[in-house]
């Protein structure tokens, strides 16, 4: 029983990481109908920039804050100088553009920091906490806290503020939004900023759990994207639930079936679910609505 709970706990932590990535995908998708495949690179940059700044003798908190600001800025610049420039292109071209950007960011990162992995100190200590025999790293609690706070803030922004209403308006009908004096370009830039910031936060909180390197974004990006699709593209809450589900399935699969088949099991479940419900668990005909 303890073992089962431990698998679930492990899965919740990985799921939390995927959830932040998935929410980043959806924030941008909702506004601009672009799947930003450089989302994983935002995570990588968050962790790596923090490590680099700490290496320059900056205190942890300041380094993390600067890293978040820098990645947010990169998100904004990416929207301003790439996505907004080719706004007449169809979503598929834009998606391919984001792949190009992700490769470019990865290349520059490996150029600056090399191909080695780096460690980041945990925010609090390395000692695990035992809850009824289930061991949980203190850093995992930070990760889950970060996920919940990000989800709450996003919900608050989208549902309770005028700004959120504007973003939603652009998502539902850009033309009508523009007629109401809302700039879809600005909203899209805001979405990229939010994605950049959440991505960077995720990158920082997950780095101490294992290690971080120039290429960690690739796999996390794929997992987060899968969760976003599984949750029904366009629904942040659905994506978060799907992400946790994916994490738990992965963990249980590795534990009870075969660790070599871990990813295969998770993706088999994903394919199976999408075959049964092509629009995702919480999706509402999003396939027809959007660019995909």
């Amino acid at each position: 029983m303890t073992e089962l709970l431990q698998y679930v706990a492990n899965g919740l932590v990985s799921g939390g990481i995927y959830a932040i990535v998935a929410v980043g995908f959806i924030t941008i998708y909702n506004v601009s109908k672009v799947i930003n495949l450089a989302q994983g690179e935002f995570l990588m940059l968050g962790g790596m920039v923090t490590v680099a700044l700490i290496g320059m003798n900056l205190p942890y908190g300041l380094a993390a804050l600067l890293a978040i600001l820098l990645v947010t800025l990169i998100g904004v610049l990416m929207q301003k100088y790439v996505i907004a420039y080719v706004k007449k292109a169809n979503p598929i071209s834009l998606i391919i553009l984001t792949i190009g950007i992700s490769t470019l960011i990865r290349g520059i990162a490996s150029f600056i920091w090399g191909k080695d992995a780096f460690a980041l100190e945990p925010i609090t200590s390395n000692e695990p906490i035992s809850i009824g025999g289930v061991m949980i790293a203190q850093q995992s609690i930070w990760i889950l806290a970060a996920v919940l706070i990000i989800l709450f803030l996003l919900w608050y922004l989208m549902d309770k503020t005028i700004l959120g209403k504007k973003i939603n308006a652009c998502s539902v009908n850009p033309m009508a939004a523009r007629l109401m004096g809302i700039s879809p370009t600005k909203m899209s830039m805001l979405a990229f900023a939010i994605s950049g910031a959440t991505g960077a936060i995720a990158g920082i909180v997950i780095a101490p759990l294992s290690v971080t390197s120039y290429d960690i974004g690739v796999l996390l990006g794929i997992k987060g994207f899968s969760a976003a699709i599984l949750g029904g593209l366009g629904n942040p809450l659905g994506a978060a639930v799907a992400a946790f589900l994916l994490g738990i399935v992965e963990s249980l699969g590795a534990g009870y079936i075969s660790s070599g088949m871990k990813d295969a099991i998770a993706f088999l479940v994903l394919i199976g679910m999408l075959l049964i419900k092509p629009s995702g668990i919480f999706g509402e005909r999003s396939v027809g609505k959007g660019g995909l």
Binding site: V13, I108, K115, E121, P128, G260
Partner: protein
């Protein structure tokens, strides 16, 4: 409108191409020239193919540095058999095809008498294929057992194999009375090689493998595998992979409160591993070559003199401690020179005489025979423990 868009694209495109160009710039490796030495005779040309760029570059760069250092020393002392030694370096970019291209070029254009390299197992296996067919002596610095097993004429290698590591760990476990182990290895060729050897030799040492788990090189978390291992009655965990995988495992084992000893392979035996595990790594064990802790090698150890000489020279030249890879390169060239001396300068005999070469190196004591072209035993490996963030010899 069209023109404007183009202009706006120009800047990022220019930046991208600059990055690309400068990345490629590192790949060019000029041949090392050796001006001094026996003036009247032609130099003996030796090829050296290392992975100076690409994922294997952390291996290839120290190998090249060690070889360069040794060439200077040899030529300063009058060369080999009165002839200066000329080493021509090539970069295989960590790529199998590039490695084969490089060895073909060295053999046909430069007419080298022997080749050192490469750093990775894949490129080395490709080169060995060609070298064996052309009867060109080759000394590889790569780990895979298949390079010298089965034995081929003229093909040798210097690093310890997974067989040595496995036997050394099992010997240690036997001393400690541990009979049940779990393994968690990378699913790449390096880790799978270990999995095979661990299975093969376990019965010989009376050891049972109670859990055999794998992880992917890029996996961000191995906690599920560790949870499973925690649920078994394993008394020790063996981890084989290259950084950062084993470091992640050590950290997560701590997070899961897994208290059995963790023994890591020599694939992650370097200072980077210590840096990555931080304070989570106290008590982690590792099998490694003696070069990992040169200052702790006993004075009466047959290797102590050469290790000290190599470490001091390397430290003076590059202001950093040599790692195991630098040692593989150093031993490779030393073995080659030993062979050249025994062949009396007759380079055509080189492949044969190497088969009888005996040489005490920094990696271990090499004794090449007709059916052992690696020449090392597990006794040249040591067990170390991480204590206060440093490697300590386990006696």
């Amino acid at each position: 409108m069209k023109k404007r868009t183009f202009k706006k694209w120009l800047f990022p495109a220019a930046v991208a191409s600059l990055v690309f160009l400068s990345a490629c710039g590192g790949g060019a490796t000029p041949a090392a020239e050796s001006g001094t030495g026996g003036a009247s005779k032609d130099p003996i040309k030796v090829g050296a193919i290392f992975s100076l760029t690409g994922p294997n570059s952390p291996l290839g760069v120290p190998e090249k540095q060690a070889v360069e250092l040794l060439v200077k020393e040899i030529n300063g002392a009058g060369g080999v058999e009165g002839r200066p030694l000329e080493v021509i370096f090539e970069d295989d970019k960590s790529d199998n095809t590039e490695a084969v291209k490089a060895i073909k070029k060295l053999a046909s254009k430069e007419k080298v008498v022997a080749v050192l390299g490469s750093s990775g197992s894949g490129p080395s296996l490709g080169m060995a294929e060609y070298a064996a067919a052309e009867k060109l002596p080759l000394i590889s610095m790569a780990a895979a057992d298949q390079i010298t097993n089965p034995v081929r004429a003229g093909i040798y290698k210097t690093p310890h194999t997974d067989v040595h590591g496995t036997k050394r760990i099992f010997k240690y476990l036997k001393e400690k009375g541990i009979t049940k182990i779990a393994t968690l290895n990378d699913s790449n060729p390096y880790g799978s090689g270990w999995t095979t050897q661990l299975q093969k030799y376990a019965p010989e040492y009376g050891i049972t493998i109670v859990a055999e788990e794998k992880y992917g090189t890029k996996d961000p978390s191995m906690s599920s595998q560790l949870t499973k291992i925690k649920g078994t009655d394993a008394q020790a965990l063996i981890v084989a992979g290259t950084n950062p995988g084993p470091a992640t495992i050590v950290k997560e084992a701590k997070q899961l409160n897994l208290t059995i000893p963790i023994i890591s392979s020599h694939g992650s035996a370097n200072s980077k591993f210590l840096e990555l595990i931080g304070d989570a790594g106290e008590g982690v064990l590792m099998v490694a070559g003696k070069l990992l802790i040169p200052e702790q090698v006993a004075a009466d150890d047959p290797q102590s003199a050469i290790i000290k000489k190599f470490v001091d020279g390397y430290q003076a030249a590059y202001n950093t401690q040599p790692d195991g890879f630098a040692g593989y390169g150093y031993d490779g060239l030393n073995l080659l020179v030993e062979g050249l001396k025994q062949a009396g300068g007759d380079t055509s005999k080189l492949g044969e005489v190497l088969e009888k070469a005996k040489y005490v190196g920094v990696t271990g004591e090499f004794k090449f025979t007709a059916d052992d072209h690696n020449g090392l035993t597990e006794d040249s490996m040591i067990m170390v423990e991480v204590k206060d963030g440093k490697f300590q010899l386990v006696k």
